[in-house]
Symmetry: C2
Subunit: 778 residues, 2 copies
């Protein structure tokens, strides 16, 4: 490890030197070091490349300005404003339509904010690095185009065909908060080459079958599907999605039953074999990329830790970081952490008995810093501190709670069946009768009592810390609100009553597999959300393009000349004395505004009957419109395949993990116990007193008082955090990780052989830039 560390330290020491060369005061010097180390650790965490690290004091100021939640929020809101503008522009949502003058001005304003953001970034990165940073350069170009277009719109006072609006997404993608989306996009693009290979195979077979189909079925004049080669191709493409399935076969099947063989063979090869092959290839590539990504992130974090470590050690004590410096680092890295937690983090890292944290221990920084510390109570119940009478009551409740463990689930099951039967009995009409059904009140009472018992039994804090209890609470609250709505006849709130069946979800606690599934679901949720957002970004691009080309082309009875005329029909005719409305409804699937476009695109994603939408639009425009729909199908196929691959990978991974660790008890996240003695606390108080940090001192003194009260000489603290994907991966690749480290160390050794002889490197751990600093140690 010594070798790898040195290589890093040599490579980056000029940066540290530059940053701090102008400083004079020793304390200020150290503050700068703390800050830079914190920045390194943040870069490691966020996977920011080190070449964007601020190189001097001016850059640091810009960096700090551009790296806080206020700035991030500004970035995000500007991007969202730009995206939301399409609600109000030309084919606008009727209620939100704005004058051209208004929305163009808004757009210009938002773009100017983006210019400001970019200039801050330039200040921080320096012109040279700015140019090298690809994403930023693309953003700049798009910004330029958008700017010109916005001005053109403002001058002409009319919107032209602005397909470039689709590029607005890049402002959102570039946001700090959308890092996950960026990663997804990168992963999608990396999965593309093998995907495209198999896609070509798919299209190739399609062409062969299109030619065959044309030869076989075009002599049949009652078969419109294969009349020309183009029709043949389009219909086989649609058949690939199964969307026109039995219909496309029917005319030829009616003529000759054996023609079904053609379709069965086509579907077996294309749909059941090659499409699954596509999934397999994407799944495999995805897994591979996932592992590589994990590896590079792990090594990047390690490098960041090395950089930070180098900035925190002193000349006198080159073998570790003292608490004083560690505390300084945390002040910048996690300003909200209290003094007690800082010391506990330090103790958790420090596995030797020396007062210094060595580099090897420091490598665990990211795993330990996320822990939430809590004093381990000696009391059994939360109400042990309350007066005697109350204590007895709660104690009794707590006993009842254990007794009623399975009762609530039975009630929920009964309630579920009740609701089902009740609903089955209702046959149309107004369900919300004035008198509240008695069953509603009975069940609600039971839930209310259960809630009360549980809260008193477990204590309000612990009760609400469980997701399931929170869910119970929310559902019961909703049911209560629904009851109020019914009782006081508040019609707009009736929808709450409708949510009653959601209570049945509580039954899923009962079985372990479902609990696992739901837990995994919650673990995956952030990632799923980012994948959903990625899909929405693709939707946005296609929605803009669709609106520019197809807005207003579809309306009732528009497509009477096409084969899908029925679906677009709207006839209002009178039979006898009754008015009969025949509605095809498909004219509702249009691109008239961005919300409609999104719904239409979702329908295209679901694929069923998508060709009706395609043919409707095609009959009103040109043949080339089909390209739009086909490309959209392929793009969503890519994204959906990746989503499937992701879900597959995540669950299979999780199940493998569970199988590997079957013998270990049910996991409640990562836990760590640390004991702190009174002397230690007093020592830290002394330290803080010297640096005159009043709040920290008083906080720590409370702990001492607490210890005195219970007559303890030490307190046990429990650190806990939920398990992340990274923890799981760590465990899965346990053996390989060591190899990666060694390989990485070897590689870096090879890159810097001329500067220092490798064996001697252990003795000169200190960076040059630190030599002129004064060394203060607690």
């Amino acid at each position: 490890d010594g070798g790898s560390y040195d290589a890093v330290h040599d490579a980056s020491s000029p940066a540290a030197g530059d940053c701090c060369a102008q400083q004079s005061s020793a304390q200020h010097d150290w503050e700068m070091n703390y800050q830079e180390a914190a920045i390194y650790l943040q870069e490691g965490e966020n996977n920011d490349k080190f070449f964007t690290h601020p190189k001097n004091a001016k850059a640091l100021a810009a960096y700090l300005f551009a790296h806080n939640h206020l700035f991030y929020l500004m970035e995000l809101s500007t991007a969202l404003l730009l995206l939301l503008l399409s609600l109000c522009e030309a084919p606008a949502v009727p209620m939100l339509r704005l004058g051209i003058y208004v929305h163009a001005t808004l757009e210009l304003f938002a773009l100017i904010v983006v210019v400001f953001e970019l200039s801050m970034k330039m200040r921080w990165l320096g012109f040279h690095t700015f140019i090298r940073h690809k994403r930023t350069m693309v953003k700049t170009c798009v910004l330029f185009v958008q700017f010109i277009e916005a001005i053109v719109v403002l001058v002409r006072q009319t919107s032209h065909v602005r397909i470039t609006r689709a590029l607005r997404c890049i402002f959102l993608v570039d946001c700090r908060y959308c890092g996950a989306v960026r990663r997804n996009l990168r992963q999608i693009f990396q999965s593309l080459p093998p995907f495209i290979d198999i896609l070509l195979l798919l299209l190739f077979f399609m062409v062969i079958f299109a030619i065959l189909g044309f030869y076989l079925f075009s002599p049949n004049h009652s078969d419109p599907y294969f009349s020309t080669l183009e029709n043949s191709l389009v219909n086989l493409f649609v058949l690939l999605t199964t969307s026109n399935f039995p219909d496309v076969m029917m005319p030829s099947y009616a003529r000759n039953p054996w023609s079904c063989v053609f379709f069965i063979v086509y579907l077996s090869i294309e749909l059941y074999f090659i499409m699954n092959l596509l999934l397999a290839v994407v799944f495999d590539t995805f897994n591979d990329i996932e592992k590589k990504k994990f590896k590079s992130l792990l090594l990047h974090k390690r490098a960041a830790i090395q950089h930070a470590y180098r900035l925190l050690i002193t000349k006198q004590r080159p073998t570790g970081v003292s608490f004083k410096h560690f505390e300084g680092l945390l002040r910048f890295y996690k300003p909200r952490m209290c003094a007690r937690e800082r010391y506990l983090t330090f103790k958790a890292l420090n596995q030797s008995n020396t007062p210094l944290v060595s580099l090897k221990d420091f490598y665990n920084f990211y795993e330990v810093v996320g822990l939430k510390w809590k004093a381990k109570r000696n009391r059994e119940h939360w109400f042990d501190d309350l007066p005697r009478t109350a204590f007895l009551i709660f104690k009794g409740n707590s006993f009842c709670y254990g007794f009623f463990l399975y009762f609530p689930d039975t009630v929920v099951a009964v309630n579920g069946i009740w609701i089902l039967v009740e609903t089955f009995m209702l046959q149309g009409g107004n369900f919300f009768s004035r008198n509240v059904p008695w069953s509603y009140i009975v069940f609600l009472t039971i839930y209310g009592v259960e809630l009360l018992l549980k809260t008193t039994g477990l204590g309000p804090v612990e009760y609400l810390s469980s997701g399931w209890n929170l869910f119970d609470f929310a559902v019961t609250l909703f049911a209560f609100l629904g009851l109020l709505a019914l009782a006081f006849n508040m019609e707009p709130f009736y929808f709450i009553v409708v949510l009653r069946p959601l209570q049945l979800l509580r039954l899923f606690k009962l079985k372990k597999r479902y609990r696992n599934v739901l837990d995994t679901m919650f673990e995956l949720f952030p990632r799923m959300a980012s994948l959903g957002l990625t899909l929405l970004i693709f939707y946005y691009c296609f929605a803009i393009v669709g609106m520019e080309f197809f807005a207003g082309v579809v309306y009732p009875n528009c497509c009477n000349t096409s084969t899908v005329a029925d679906s677009y029909r709207w006839v209002n005719h009178t039979v006898g004395n009754k008015t009969v409305v025949e509605e095809g409804y498909y004219y509702l699937n249009n691109f008239d505004n961005i919300l409609n476009s999104f719904v239409t695109l979702f329908e295209l994603t679901v694929v069923n009957d998508w060709y009706i939408i395609m043919e409707g639009v095609t009959s009103q425009t040109t043949h080339w419109s089909r390209l739009y729909f086909m490309i959209f199908y392929i793009v969503t196929m890519v994204v959906m395949t990746i989503i499937v691959a992701f879900i597959l990978e995540a669950f299979v991974f999780r199940m493998n993990y569970t199988r590997k660790n079957q013998d270990s008890e049910e996991d409640n996240g990562i836990m760590l116990e640390k004991e702190i003695s009174k002397e230690e606390v007093i020592g830290i108080i002394e330290l803080y007193k010297r640096s005159s940090a009043a709040t920290e001192t008083s906080q720590l003194q409370k702990i001492v008082l607490q210890m005195d009260k219970y007559g303890q000489m030490s307190t046990l603290f429990l650190g806990r955090r939920s398990r992340t994907k990274s923890d799981l991966s760590m465990k899965m690749y346990e053996e390989e990780i060591q190899e990666w480290y060694e390989e990485h160390a070897r590689k870096e050794e090879c890159q810097t052989p001329s500067q220092e002889p490798a064996p001697a490197s252990n003795n000169s751990l200190k960076p040059l830039s630190l030599r002129q600093r004064s060394q203060t140690v607690i």
Copy 2:
């Protein structure tokens, strides 16, 4: 290993004793041993449990009678006859209709053959084992029911509702040749428990959403999809298959655009999350089962080898099997193997330099016995043996062949584009003009010349040994036949011309990934075929049930009262002076005979618009018919999910394997080289002469003559076989396999500790039953 061996030998020695106690002559004794060892090895290969091993001479005779291809073929043809009878029974295919008397007699005949087969099996297994064997017992029960029903039909002269015909499949499943189908079915049933768990989750959410949907949308009277709770449930089930997607949303969407949220949330949860979860769970279970299956098969094979080994060693030489005994074994195990191959197999197994094969070497039996041995030629070209003049011509060709390596692919590509353009130019009409297009002749000539060059360059045998060349050959032949058909105007053969585009498939040789995909496809083909057959068996069951209940219920204009009336319409009306036929065609998707049922079921499998078929049938029968369709959907979902999981698993496995062995050269299957010296061959000849095997002797003498001709003292032989899934698995689980062996050995040691002290076991390798035999060694 000693321990594990002993355990096996102790457990099974009574069986060997029983089988051979009655024999007296030493040679006959040995022959019996060879045969029994061969039977053990076959049982190991076929994964037959050892408790069905023949226990005495009578059982052995029955075993031999029931274990040869003639008997297997009889089994298969009887089962097929029984299945095919449904083509001719009651709702028969019109052309194949048979009188009740005829088909009932045929059925009785087939059933009697099955009775005969079962009685043979009983003779071989003994009554006790027969009763214990579950599959055979089920078969017997089904046979009994079928018998009674066939007699009832024959007596009443009319078919009753015979749903039990669906059980006929069991006769096919029980066939020796359908082992793969049995394994698939077992795997499907093993994957069921987790599948059902997730399915319940799916159905649960469906019920919740059905109640919600009913409350939300039933007040809208123009929305037929949610008018009752039953409708709501059915339509959400159909929505799960996306089959009615935008339609089911449209009435409510037209009323309130925000109602789309209900459908989007439903589809996101059910279709995009839980359905994928289903795939993940099945994929995971499937992988797990696959590994366990491989492990148990591996251990079973090992046990079989131990049994066989125990029967082949002698008292004097307990440490290995001599060639004489090995040869005796192979005579029974692979009767078609020639003497040279037997000796080469022996040499390949024997890794020590002693004349005996030890148990450790013998464990490789299954890997080695499949090798095909070929003398390695010293000649460069196949025509080196031909006279001088011919040699020169072929030599030149061979040179040309190298030159033209990439030419043919270019021609194929050009031809492909040509066909595409040509087809695009054609616009309907009769394509088969009398004059053959010149392009056809040009391309065919080029292909012909290429074929000739390749054949002469590589030699006819080697040319046809490559799958791709065979494909080229077949396509060129077809094209030639098509030309003849065109030239001589033979209309029925025009279909051959239509197959021309298949030539384009040759382009897939060009890219490595495609070659890999296609190679994997061919490797997977047997397994895929067995999965397909499994699906067909499910189809058969459902087709029989469908025919019994729904035959004849669907006809043109049948369903005018249902919501899908349009699809079943058949109107023939006159507009002006033209007859316009409006066809809905869906009446063709019926259960009127078994072929139609199969097509209908395939359409249901593809899922798109399946609800039209369901609603059509339901409107003519009862609500409960929906259950049939829904159950069919769920069953095909299971099977299709498993097929997807299988394809995924196979490809991911293969890709992982390729990645792991990236550095090794392209694999051409398993290869092994062995050198045989002249002395060895002469030694074997002596051996065969002693046992007076004339054909073997003459065969071997040819090798000696060949050696003499070229003046060699030894010949190098090359053994080769294609790589199987088992080889890949062996390599993948390399590390774990050793653990399995050890664990297995430990387990067996624990089971038999009282019989013999473990450390001493190495000295008593010989089974008791061998003691009374005379020992002859070469």
